[in-house]
């Protein structure tokens, strides 16, 4: 039997519903409900406007990441994506008019997905879509949206474009709107996180999605656990075995803490969910976690391969030293000072005999 989704058998469709249930941490008894809701939603085809600011389109690429047929395709079948800079066929005015029409026709009903940061310096001229700045687009399109979803580190918190943001004033969607938005950070965002959130929205409605956000605005289903607590290398951390030299094969699988792993600060389910259709994730591929789902990413987590951030020296712009260097210098100065004073103590014969005059006898 065919499902209503093109090229997908009923059996496969139910399998996807099961994977979506698993994705959202729901029990199997929800599968029929999910199937019904998706079929229902597919009839109405909820409209989506997906726009990009200062982005590398990586989140989109992650979203349409191949697995045949992809869950993303499934969702794209359910949704009616009216504007997407990378996957739509239309261009120019036709494409831009699609936004205007959707905003009019589906006022208050469309889902607004934004990918990339928003440069607000100099009137927003560092990123324009059509002839309007991305900042102005976001303000206008978000106003009548049913939900605003910021996808990726850049849209969520500023990400890489906001590192040294002086030039472009790169900001997150929330900074521009001034109201909380649903955030799906990651560099890129995992397709499951995006799909799961959209499906949850279709199944349980806007309030359920908003209620399930953590203090940074991320859905708790996906961002509720610490990487470090679920890490396959955790036993090496406990055993005190750390990679200190990437070239030493013996250390290849040790904990990456000393190579700047941000796993102890980073909330996401990568160790369980894995990437590229469940193949692997950063730490298993021998790369320290970079903390891409955290608000600190990128600038507050740099240097990526150092355990602690570096400290700027006041007065010398751009010059930064590590905490250990400062500690060493201070330590040496202290030891030298004590040594010098000790010489003085011995030379003056005061060693151990100083101190305040004996008050008791005075």
């Amino acid at each position: 039997m065919e499902s209503i989704f093109k090229g997908l058998s009923r059996r496969d469709f139910l399998k996807y519903c099961a994977s979506i249930a698993a994705m959202l941490g729901l029990s199997e008894i929800y599968i029929p409900q999910i199937a019904a809701a998706l079929e229902e939603a597919a009839k109405g085809k909820p409209p989506v406007i997906w726009m990009q600011g200062q982005s590398c389109a990586g989140c989109t690429i992650s979203f349409i990441n191949p697995r045949e047929p992809t869950p993303a395709e499934l969702v794209l079948d359910i949704l009616s994506v009216r504007f997407h800079p990378n996957i739509m066929a239309a261009a120019g005015d036709v494409a831009l008019n699609a936004i205007e029409t959707t905003m009019e026709e589906a006022k208050g009903k469309y889902v607004y997905i934004f990918e990339g940061a928003l440069p607000k310096a100099e009137g927003g001229r560092f990123c324009e879509i059509g002839e309007t700045s991305a900042v102005d687009w976001v303000k206008r399109v978000a106003k009548d949206a049913h939900v605003v979803i910021a996808i990726g580190a850049c849209a969520s918190f500023g990400g890489i474009p906001a590192a040294n943001r002086e030039t472009t004033g790169a900001s997150s969607v929330q900074d521009i709107l001034g109201t909380p938005v649903v955030k799906i950070p990651g560099c890129p965002a995992h397709p499951d996180w995006v799909i799961g959130t959209v499906v949850k929205l279709l199944l349980f409605g806007k309030d359920a999605v908003l209620d399930g956000l953590d203090k940074y605005g991320r859905p708790k289903e996906f961002y509720g656990t610490l990487i470090h607590d679920n890490c396959p290398r955790r036993h090496w951390f406990e055993a005190g075995k750390f990679v200190e030299d990437f070239n030493d094969p013996e250390q290849a699988n040790y904990c990456l803490l000393l190579k700047g792993c941000k796993g102890p600060f980073t909330y996401a389910d990568c160790p369980k969910r894995k990437w590229n259709a469940g193949t692997n994730f950063c730490i298993d591929a021998n790369a320290p976690c970079q903390g891409c789902t955290q608000p600190e990413f990128y600038v507050k987590f740099s240097p990526l391969y150092e355990k602690l951030p570096e400290i700027g020296i006041p007065g010398i712009a751009g010059y930064e030293v590590s905490a250990d260097t400062i500690a060493k210098v201070l330590g040496i100065v202290t030891v030298a000072g004590i040594g010098l004073h000790l010489v003085g103590q011995i030379a003056t014969g005061r060693l151990g005999k100083g101190g305040p005059p004996e008050r008791g006898e005075k």
Partner: protein, 196 residues
Amino acid sequence: MARMVEEHPLPARVMHWIHLLCMGGLAISGWYIHRPFFGGGMGIMRWVHFICMYVVLINLVTRIYWAFLGAARDWHEFSLRPRDIRNTVKIVVYYLFIKREHPEVGKYNPPQKLIYGWLWPLLLIFQAISGFALYGPTADYFAWFTVWVGGLAHVRLIHYMTMWAFIITVALHVYLSLAEDFKSFLYMFFGVRPEE
């Protein structure tokens, strides 16, 4: 001699011992958490850190209570007064070997007052705030601190640098109490005063 015996009463000495053991435990275990210097101790070191951090805080509160409401009420020994400005000059001159005679400055000289009564308690409270922000990164109690300093990586940096502030000031403290006034050290540690 009567005044002598009161100088560091037993409770003060006990609290100093607890303080010293905890700070030693915190610094060693903290350093290990920062950069493990031998394998396999992470569990134990974190355990030590977590025990010591509670004990040292209870001890701090007790010491402050005792300073104001205990038997000795020695808070005034630590309070800074206008004459401490003059005394600072005097004590620096003494420490730099320009004058031979130790000036009359009260129980503690101004730098000591500053470090014992102000710097260390405040640093310890600060260390506790940053420490608890690391301890419960998902809890909201100290989230304001995490947000204020710009994320957990910076909380860790601050916690680590504060350890160095402690190590350096304690090094000076230990050095001076041994090299300068050995009698006072014996008394503070063991409650003994060698008779002349």
